[in-house]
């Protein structure tokens, strides 16, 4: 993938900690102190119980492949075929990502395969959490 030209996220006050985390090699999630719900994407309150008493923590980075498609059309930053994946994090939430270190084929991309986060620096500000097949 030619990562230089892919569209990059524009952080907001509510998500700055997430992107600061990826810069430092941490996948930061939020947990509600009140009801223990772990959630993503970031918000300064719990989307389950609305409590503003929440804490940030570094996730394990372990995940499994939940679903994906393989796009057949190259776009800036992406050489086709490339998979757009959703991974299930060990802590519960799911997130969209790309799978690296793995052929972009249905044979190589098996649902539920174990994955681990692979931080990919895109710019001084933005490091994206991509995922690769787990080595364990």
């Amino acid at each position: 993938m030619k990562d230089q030209t892919r569209p990059l996220p524009v952080p907001t006050p509510e998500t700055a900690h997430f992107w600061e985390g990826t810069r430092q090699g941490e996948l930061r999630l939020q947990r509600c102190v009140h009801c223990a719900h772990v959630y993503f994407p970031p918000r300064p309150f719990c989307p389950k119980c609305s409590s503003a008493e929440i804490e940030k923590f570094a996730a394990s980075g372990r995940a499994s492949l939940y679903s994906y498609v393989i796009s057949q059309r190259s776009i800036p930053g992406f050489e086709a075929p490339y998979a757009i994946a959703v991974v299930q994090l060990e802590e519960g939430p799911r997130m969209m990502t790309n799978i690296v270190g793995c052929a972009q084929t249905p044979e190589a991309l098996r649902l539920d395969m174990p994955l681990e986060v692979a931080f990919a620096k895109q710019s001084e500000e933005i490091t994206l959490p991509l995922f690769k097949p787990s080595e364990a």
């Binding site: 996220p9 998500t15 498609v69 796009s71 490339y82 757009i84 969209m96």
Partner: protein
């Protein structure tokens, strides 16, 4: 069945469908409107409420010469027009307006003064947490949940092809359908891969067109020719981010909207003679049949394979050919409504015998929103 408060008394699509290079988006709205108003036998000056999506209500009012006292610009994508029917029914019942015009027009193919597919707001959660991973629009977003669905129920990719094949059978009966030639499962499976597991013939068309509806109260509707009564409605939303759906094998918005519509109509599934399930991609009828309760989870593919939704089947579905074969301008919901109305009136190209109740069910965004309308021939 519960008492109906409002009815469709005028319904029409644009004069042409497909490729309309000589009309801008707003003119597609106007062309459909003039056809629908003529169908109702009223004049534009009788309209006091307007609802539309994709085009602003003020540009629509100005262009058509309407001075409305009630406006709905709910814009949640393709099912917006179904929501407009629901909201207009409530507004008519509340006495906010008497005659409502709902319009759709989209230069989806020719792109003449067209709104186009919405670009995510910079810094929105969608832009931060989905766009960076190479999404290019519906073909790479709407499709993301399906592998999980297929795996959960032990189904192959060919079930998506079977949806397209059956809908083409309906399209073959419809002179206005874009694609009418019969296709086989092999044809679909061998068509060009777009976004695995979706091949070209599992994806909707991209066309130009429009449609319009005229609604009034059920009491006034008795004075019109072939009124189609609105007896049940539902709506809901879930999330603009497909990656954040609660469950990739079922749509919460579909379930909530469908349940509301059936409950408010006071009907059971056995009462439904005809069904329209918005099919931007071939997996949507599978989710729709299950989430509306016509099939148990995981059984919709077999239900379609056993020809229950095909011509001659017990639940004729997407009888215009659907977004896969009839037309799909981008926000298809209006065409699902139009076909339901035609079937209840008894004037569809592929007319199902004696349709008394038709259900139209739509989706907006990528499983982001949903709305369901129950139409009846009987005013109750």
């Amino acid at each position: 069945m519960k008492r109906s408060r409002a009815a469709v008394v005028g319904a029409a699509e644009t004069t042409q469908l497909g490729v309309i290079p000589n009309m801008s988006q707003v003119q597609l709205h106007a062309d459909a409107t003039l056809n629908a108003v003529r169908d109702a036998g009223i004049s534009i000056s009788d309209i006091d409420g307007i609802a539309t999506a994709g085009e602003s209500p003020e540009s629509l009012a100005h262009y058509l010469g309407i001075t409305p006292t009630w406006i709905d610009a709910t814009g949640v994508g393709g099912c917006s027009f179904l929501m407009h029917v629901r909201h207009a029914t409530a507004a008519i019942e509340a006495g906010l307006c008497g005659t409502v015009l709902i319009t759709h027009g989209e230069s989806g193919r020719s792109g003449i003064a067209a709104a186009g597919f919405p670009v995510p707001i910079q810094g929105s959660l969608l832009q931060q947490f989905e766009t960076p991973y190479g999404t290019t629009g519906p073909a790479t977003m709407f499709t993301v949940p399906v592998l999980r669905y297929l795996q959960r129920y032990g189904l192959g990719e060919d079930v998506l092809a079977e949806v397209a094949v059956v809908q083409r059978e309906w399209a073959a009966k419809n002179p206005r359908a874009t694609f009418k030639n019969p296709i086989s499962v092999d044809d679909v499976m061998n068509s060009r891969m777009i976004s695995y597991p979706f091949r070209l013939l599992m994806c909707c068309l991209v066309t130009d067109g429009g449609g319009a509806l005229v609604l009034t109260s059920a009491d006034r509707a008795k004075d019109f020719d072939r009124p189609v009564y609105i007896v049940g409605t539902g709506e809901s939303v879930e999330t603009p981010m497909v990656s954040q759906m609660e469950d990739f094998t079922t749509s919460r918005a579909f379930r909530v909207s469908g349940r509301e519509a059936f409950k408010s109509a006071g009907i059971s599934h056995a009462d439904v003679d005809h069904l329209m399930l918005y099919d931007a991609f071939a997996h949507l009828p599978l989710y729709g049949l299950e989430d509306l309760g016509f099939c148990k989870p995981g059984e919709a593919a077999a239900f379609i394979r056993e020809r229950n939704t095909a011509p001659g089947g017990k639940l004729p579905m997407n009888t215009n050919g659907g977004g896969l074969s009839y037309m799909h301008s981008g926000m298809y919901g209006m065409y699902a409504l139009q076909e339901s109305v035609r079937q209840v009136r008894g004037i569809a190209a592929a007319q199902v015998p004696d349709v008394r109740i038709s259900v139209a069910h739509g989706v907006g965004g990528m499983f982001a929103a949903s709305s369901t309308i129950v139409f009846s021939k009987d005013g109750v």
